[in-house]
């Protein structure tokens, strides 16, 4: 099926429509105000229409990111509630003294609450860095959305190096963790920040190598191309989703991306039981809110990355592409939640050992498999 939503085309049409309205206004009032017609004409030039089209597309993507954040957050709360034999988040009835409903609005209530929270900057903190760190995390996780395509048409930026871009944006957050940990001037945050840096050493290489494995198979680092390659190289009419030929890579990637997200088996920098709240200990008000938001934004982006790389992106029968993509990402995200709430946290030296002695060799194996498959394909064998 084709895409439902043509982001670039529609936003350009909206932009052109606005400029048409401006032109109509110029015709109407041009007689009285001489320069108005010039302005309107300038607005009707192709470059300006294109530019405003981009701005509208960016806004649409941001709105999507925020709405999706609410859905994902609500989903996680509901899911782990059920895992723990509870009902999860619910909303109190307006006048009866009962709790019912799905509690979807609870996330918005939390957001409003965090905006209204008192702001505390510790006396010993390095002020500018302390305030910069949450913003860095938020910006980097939002930026990852720029390169994520939801379908062949719902795509903001069709980047040649899209996968690298997404991972690069992910890789910025350990830096901010380190900054926040040091700048807070607190011992828990110091240890948490150092742990964040150490954890990054463990998972970053396997993550990149798994992407390299997929890129070798697909011959491109563009997420659109990777999905197209999975659709193209079908065996017996079944699409060649890369989690079958790259199964080892898929497992390694899942572990590494969980560590990237700081989700529970690997939420070592946060480690709420030993370090109170880890590197977040001193962070209050909307700064905490931004970090909280970016955590789930990154969560969905990571699920999207998994789907793009290993589950054939938006390919699927009957439904439009966006629907398939969202279904797949939510399933992957649900898997993240399931793992996170049923496994205990492991130790920092253990994740380094796992990373270097298990994940890195395995990810080398995925590269070798990818190379072998690629090589075989030149002789008419293999999956290409």
């Amino acid at each position: 099926m084709s895409g439902l939503f043509d982001l670039g085309g529609w936003s350009r049409e909206i932009s052109a429509f606005v400029s048409d309205i401006l032109a109509w206004l110029a015709d109407l009032f041009g007689g009285w105000i001489p320069w108005f017609r010039d302005v309107a004409n300038w607005f009707r030039t192709d470059v300006v229409i294109e530019f405003w089209g981009f701005v509208i597309a960016v806004m649409i993507m941001l709105v999507f990111a925020v709405i999706n954040l609410l859905v994902v957050l609500w989903m996680e709360r509901k899911l782990y509630g059920r895992l723990q034999d509870r009902r999860g988040v619910m909303v109190p009835h307006p006048w009866k003294k009962i709790h019912k409903g799905t509690g979807f609005l609870q996330n918005m209530a939390d957001g409003i609450k965090l905006v209204m929270k008192e702001s505390i900057t510790p006396r010993n903190a390095d002020k500018s860095m302390f305030h910069a760190a949450p913003a860095i995390i938020f910006i980097s996780s939002v930026m990852a959305y720029a390169a994520i395509p939801l379908s062949t048409t719902f795509v903001l930026a069709d980047l040649e190096l899209g996968l690298i871009f997404i991972v690069a944006m992910f890789a910025l957050s350990p830096l901010a963790v380190l900054i926040a940990g040091w700048a807070s001037g607190n011992k828990y945050t110091l240890i948490g920040g150092m742990r964040g840096a150490a954890q990054m050493l463990a998972y970053e290489i396997p993550l990149l190598l798994c992407i390299a494995g997929v890129a070798i198979m697909a011959g491109s680092l563009n997420p659109m191309e990777v999905v197209a390659a999975q659709q193209r190289t079908s065996v017996l009419g079944i699409e060649n989703w890369y989690f079958i030929p790259q199964f080892i890579g898929f497992i390694v990637f899942m572990v590494a991306i969980l560590a990237e997200l700081e989700k529970l088996p690997f939420d070592i920098p946060e480690a709420e039981s030993e370090l109170v709240e880890g590197w977040l200990t001193e962070i209050t008000d909307i700064r905490f809110g931004l970090i909280f938001m970016s955590k789930w934004m990154k969560g969905w982006a990571a699920a999207a990355l998994v789907v793009l790389l290993f589950f054939g992106g938006w390919s699927g029968p009957f439904f439009p592409q966006e629907v398939w993509f969202m279904i797949k990402t939510y399933i992957v995200f649900a898997f993240f939640v399931w793992i996170a709430w049923i496994l205990p946290r492991i130790r920092i030296d253990q994740i380094l050992k796992i990373g270097w002695y298990e994940l890195v060799p395995l990810s080398f194996a995925t590269i070798l498999i990818a190379v072998a498959l690629k090589f075989l394909s030149h002789f008419g064998m293999g999956w290409f």
């Binding site: 723990q84 049923i342 496994l343 205990p344 130790r347």
Partner: protein, 359 residues
């Protein structure tokens, strides 16, 4: 490199109570540790000198908020021994049932606390769910879920209702099924084993030297249980086994407690079957004289009371030996050289209760 003194407590997720573990870290390795106690000191021993013997029972209840019945019972047992008072057989059985119910709830509290300690919050909610059943049973027997005030000098306060046995069997059957779930998320999960195995190893010699008792020493390989070695009530008439593990690490202590919960269920069912009819109380003298020392097995270790009566309405002197207060001494030894994250696995497996530690 600079070493850092870090306060873990009094307001810290690790503490399970109000105390402070001060650790000296070099990077992430602990170089020195120092437990700081006294945030919850209430002077119970001194308070007891101003109260009559019966008024002390509620105070003893409040020594440990997790296994309050054990402390109240130990006190009553000590005073009865001082008075040379033989209590009715049925009261003995009732006490054993209540004690074992309390032991299960206490171990459930420990299990639910160890989950969040190693980052497994789901376990907390599972255990809270099943702990509720045993608290219901306890409520049925004693009338309260916490601070029951159940044992009396010369017996117990009330008999069990007629539907108690039926309910107990049903709940224990359910519990035995649910325990499998706990094993699935704990010692059948390699991530949990990674955190617990080989962490905080305590040798038998050290355990004896530092006065560690209860499940903690049984995890180190010592077959030491006051219910067996200094039998009280009717424990010697019942068929049960001491849970011992030789490894001495956090996982061994975990297994000992998991096993003890099963054994407690066994004891409850047996006691319910064997329990004779009869009175549940005898009248006790008001102004005893003499001195006694008596030890019992709490869910955390060996509780002993030393009571001196001089013929007055209240004891002349009362001394409580609480298990975790003695176990705290071994912390510097256990924690030196481990990772900061291991503090949780070790403290969780020791099962700290600050109520009894600070007294």
């Amino acid at each position: 490199m600079t070493k850092l003194w870090i306060n873990m407590g009094p307001q810290h997720p690790m503490t399970h109570g109000l105390w402070n573990l001060r650790i000296l870290v070099d990077g992430e390795t602990i170089v020195d540790a120092e437990p700081v106690l006294g945030y919850l000191h209430r002077g119970v021993e001194k308070l007891c000198e101003r109260r009559t013997y019966n008024q002390i029972i509620p105070l003893a209840d409040r020594l440990c908020y997790v296994s309050s019945l054990c402390f109240a019972h130990a006190y009553c047992l000590t005073v009865e021994e001082m008075m040379d008072l033989e209590i009715p057989e049925r009261a003995k059985y009732l006490r054993v049932i209540a004690l074992e119910l309390q032991r299960v709830t206490s171990h459930m509290t420990w299990l639910m606390a160890i989950g969040p300690d190693v980052g497994l919050i789901t376990l907390l909610l599972y255990c809270l769910r099943e702990r509720e059943y045993f608290l219901d049973l306890l409520q049925l027997q004693t009338g309260a879920r916490m601070n029951q005030n159940y044992p009396r000098i010369g017996g117990v306060s009330q008999d069990i209702p007629s539907n108690f046995e039926h309910k107990a069997i049903k709940i224990i059957d359910k519990f035995k099924v649910r325990v499998k779930d706990y094993h699935k998320v704990t010692n059948e999960s390699s991530a949990f084993l990674k955190r617990m195995q080989g962490v905080g190893t305590l040798s038998v010699e050290d355990a004896i030297a530092y006065g560690v008792t209860g499940p903690n020493i049984r995890g180190s390989g010592a077959k030491l249980d006051m219910r067996e070695h200094d039998p009280y009530e009717v424990y010697d008439e019942l068929d049960w086994e001491i849970q011992v593990r030789d490894e001495g690490d956090s996982l061994a202590r975990f297994h000992v407690r998991m096993g003890e919960m099963q054994e407690s269920c066994k004891i409850i069912l047996q006691a319910l079957k064997k329990m004779p009819d009869g009175p549940i109380n005898v009248k006790a003298p008001l102004r005893p004289e003499g001195q006694t020392f008596r030890r019992t097995e709490d869910s955390r270790g060996e509780v002993s009371y030393y009571v001196v009566g001089n013929g007055g309405e209240s004891p002349y002197r009362l001394k409580v030996r609480s298990p975790i207060f003695c176990t705290m001494n071994v912390l510097p030894k256990l924690l030196t050289g481990v990772n900061v994250a291991d503090v949780l696995a070790i403290m969780g497996s020791i099962d700290v209760c600050i109520g009894e530690t600070d007294k």
